[in-house]
Amino acid sequence: MNSSDMKSVVGKPLNRVDGHAKVTGAARYSAEFPVAKLVHGVTIQSTIASGKIAQIDTRAAERVPGVLLVMTHLNAPKVSGEAGGDRKLPLLQDNQVRYSGQHIGVVVADTFEHAMQAAALVNIRYDEEQPALHLKEHLDQAYVPQGKIPRDQPPDSAHGSVEQGLATAAVKVEQTYTTPIENHNPMEPHATTAVWQGDRLLLYDATQGVFGAKKKVAAVLGMPPENVRIMSYFVGGGFGCKGSTWAHVVLTAMAARQVNRPVKLVLGRMQMFGPVGFRPETMQQVSLGATREGNLTALRHAGTSITSTFDEFIEPVAKTARMIYACPHIETSHRLVRLNVGTPTYMRAPGEASGSFALESAMDELAYALKIDPIELRLRNYAEFDPDKKLPWSSKSLRECYQQGAARFGWQKRNPTPRSMRDGNTLIGWGMATATYPTNRSPASAIAQIKADGTAVVRSGSQDIGTGTYTVMTQIAADALGLPAEQIQFELGDTNLPETPVSGGSQTAASVGSAVHLAGTEARSKLLQLALMDQASPLYGATAEDVIAQNGRFLLKNKAANAETYGAILSRHGLKTIEARADAKPGEEKDKYSMHSFGAQFVEVRVNPDSGEVRVSRWVGAFGVGRLLNAKTANSQLIGGIVYGIGMALMEHTVMDPNRGRVVNADLAEYHVPVNADVPSIDVIFVDEQDPHVNPIGVKGIGEIGITGSAAAIANAVYHATGQRVRDLPLTLDKLL
């Protein structure tokens, strides 16, 4: 008995199973659960970046009708913001202000309007100190991080000697690239609804990781984890900022306990610029050396990024440089500079997105210096195995990505000379870059239950942050159980369900998918065993190998008339359900193989030579990402990653006031993200790729690779169009004039 015996649901372009709920408004996000006696919380944020709160006057606020609580460091319950790992949280435990936008108070009132009115009336006097706000001014304080970069790697690496490699190089590129602070800005603001039931706490929270939230909240509040339940059925985008549990989540729970009522607290858009993470500013030095023929002799990628004064986050910009090209001498390093900012965090392809801007821009510069086509340069340095780990790839289709992407884009018609391609007065530029993202996987569990009515319920904690978890897990379960997708209900978003990892690192499909696959397969096999051993069954005496599962029925391969429905088997045994649980985890594959997705980005830009305005007019991205679970949602995710890359390349930039560190563009009118008119049609090619090694379902994860290489591809296209090399993101028009 195996899934290949039946028509696979996996891979089909199924409409999202939660689509109906999302287009009718029925899907409830974390601020939208009707809870009896609910009251509203609003946080007050610091307006200075460093100093102490000298005085805080809450009297006027407390006089506003309906106000139940003004919680500040003077009256907040004692908790430990450093407990439970992950982020260190300022939780009104002292009068210290560590960055602008730090939560320094919470107002709770009967209505949102009263809470807002009262929050505005809290009068605060500070003893202000001189904040550190600028990376460039504090480079002398750069330090080697105490922590590791993802996958438990040290911050520095060295193979060979880059100095030696550069000494033998015929051509060198040595440049500095910079990227600014960027904010995630998911459309759904961070939101938490806290409901105490005795000593138990229920939180509806907008989170990418219900189990991480449960552990963090329990640790900070000093509660047994089993007394905390997190629910999150729909998350309105995360992109990394909802991957950690931030201060407002705990503050909501603290406030709810104080007022003895359920409290809902939603951060305003402006309040999300600081206390919920951001992509940190980076400064990156790339040194490349090559022979005349274009073979790399040296590759150095040294990154410095900012972190907060009280916590550490490393943007691992140089991680990709360790594995992407074959080169005898590769060195990478990561340094940090502490500033009076909130703690940065993962933002869609942390390190890969920002790092690939530098490395893939430098490769383009090298291609021009050598007068070699940029694809050809990359092919000459194609890594046939992982040069860092010295391991074979579990699979790699990058060559096919270059070929198929270039063919679809029409790359061979490109005249490489800058400013050589025009449409009337408009300058046309074509650029490309390599994309890559690691294949991650964490332990995950799932329970599959077949019911007597022929339907099934499959449950696994997890989250759907727009990635299609509900849909693809339904498809995996359908194949594993031998049921049509419509007969399956997949439940997620609740810590009462089996444990799963955070939806980050593009790992949900691989982690949760493997668990769902194993649980479904096991439930079906248990049911089949009942039939095979039951004299009343037409399948009696057959072996599992003789049987096919199809549409909720078992039938003999050679005698289809001998068949029985799942419901009939269960009914005859007096069972309402049969279920199986799977606890899936990664095995030895990660010690045997290096596992990555790869891709190639091709972009056309049109540049107005008078205004410097850059418009992206055409995009082809080709990707090798293992098995596709759903052709439709996969296409959407890759497009989404690329759109995020267009924003990163051309507009996104969080600007701080140089004196007090206030974000001066803290809203969606001034912090520009792509709108519909900024995005052309995007052509995504999935290169056929079978990977038997990565995990039981052969998927590599697709949430983040789309943004990698995007900014470099655009910068390279802009160079081709204009002859101007911009090494400082975003690529706004002032940099082209």
């Binding site: 287009v23 009718t24 509203h40 459309m187 858009r269 296409n635 507009m651 995005v679």
Partner: protein, 208 residues
């Protein structure tokens, strides 16, 4: 960026209009939301914490409310009537997630006070489908995967229905321009354009 400036100007216009309307005192008759009132000196300073009775017609249903006049239409929908399909993304008219239809026109419900819409026909995402039959725009969004996280989706759909009502969009470029007041951070724009185009072309083959 052009578009962004326009969006902000519209926001300021609406705020100026609503502030004017509030200062002018509250009248029983319906106030047209597109015709700002000329501010006149109030005789008694407005108490933000006074309550007024407001009757609204939402998705064909009469709703009686006792609210402070400063409560936005968005907060009435979400916090008073449990019509949470309409989303709050920025509360400043910059993202479009709160778009609803008032007398068939699309507006940002966060930029307007509920009290200004007495007598108007308000349609939210919950009012578009007929029973279990989706509105063609909803069906097209599902069929073309014109969303991911779904948070901007109700606003996108209401905006797209408003766009069709306006009758100005003749091309994909027009759709892109006229849908640029609705931000989708998941980046579903190409699929949104496909969905809107399909409805515009009157195709009825969208899977429900």
């Amino acid at each position: 960026m052009r578009l962004r400036f326009r969006r902000r100007r519209l926001g300021q216009f609406a705020i100026a209009g609503t502030v004017g309307a509030v200062l002018a005192g509250f009248t029983k008759q319906a106030m047209g939301q597109s015709t700002p009132q000329t501010p006149s000196k109030p005789e008694v300073p407005a108490d933000p914490n006074s309550y007024v009775d407001v009757e609204l017609q939402i998705n064909g249903k009469e709703q009686m409310l006792k609210i402070e006049p400063r409560v936005t239409l968005l907060d009435v929908l979400r916090e008073r009537l449990d019509l949470t399909g309409t989303k709050k993304g920025c509360d400043h008219g910059q993202c479009g997630a709160c778009t609803v239809l008032v007398n068939g026109r699309r507006i940002n419900s966060c930029l307007t006070f509920a009290i200004m819409h007495r007598g108007a026909e308000i349609t939210t995402i919950e009012g578009l489908a007929k029973g279990n039959t989706l509105h063609p725009m909803q069906a097209a969004f599902v069929a073309h995967d014109a969303f991911q996280c779904g948070y901007c989706t109700p606003g996108q759909i209401c905006s797209a229905v408003g766009l069709v009502n306006e009758g100005h969009a003749q091309s994909d470029a027009d759709i892109r321009e006229l849908m640029s007041g609705n931000i989708c951070r998941c980046g579903a724009y190409p699929n949104i354009v496909t969905a809107v185009r399909e409805v515009l072309e009157g195709k009825k083959n969208a899977a429900v």
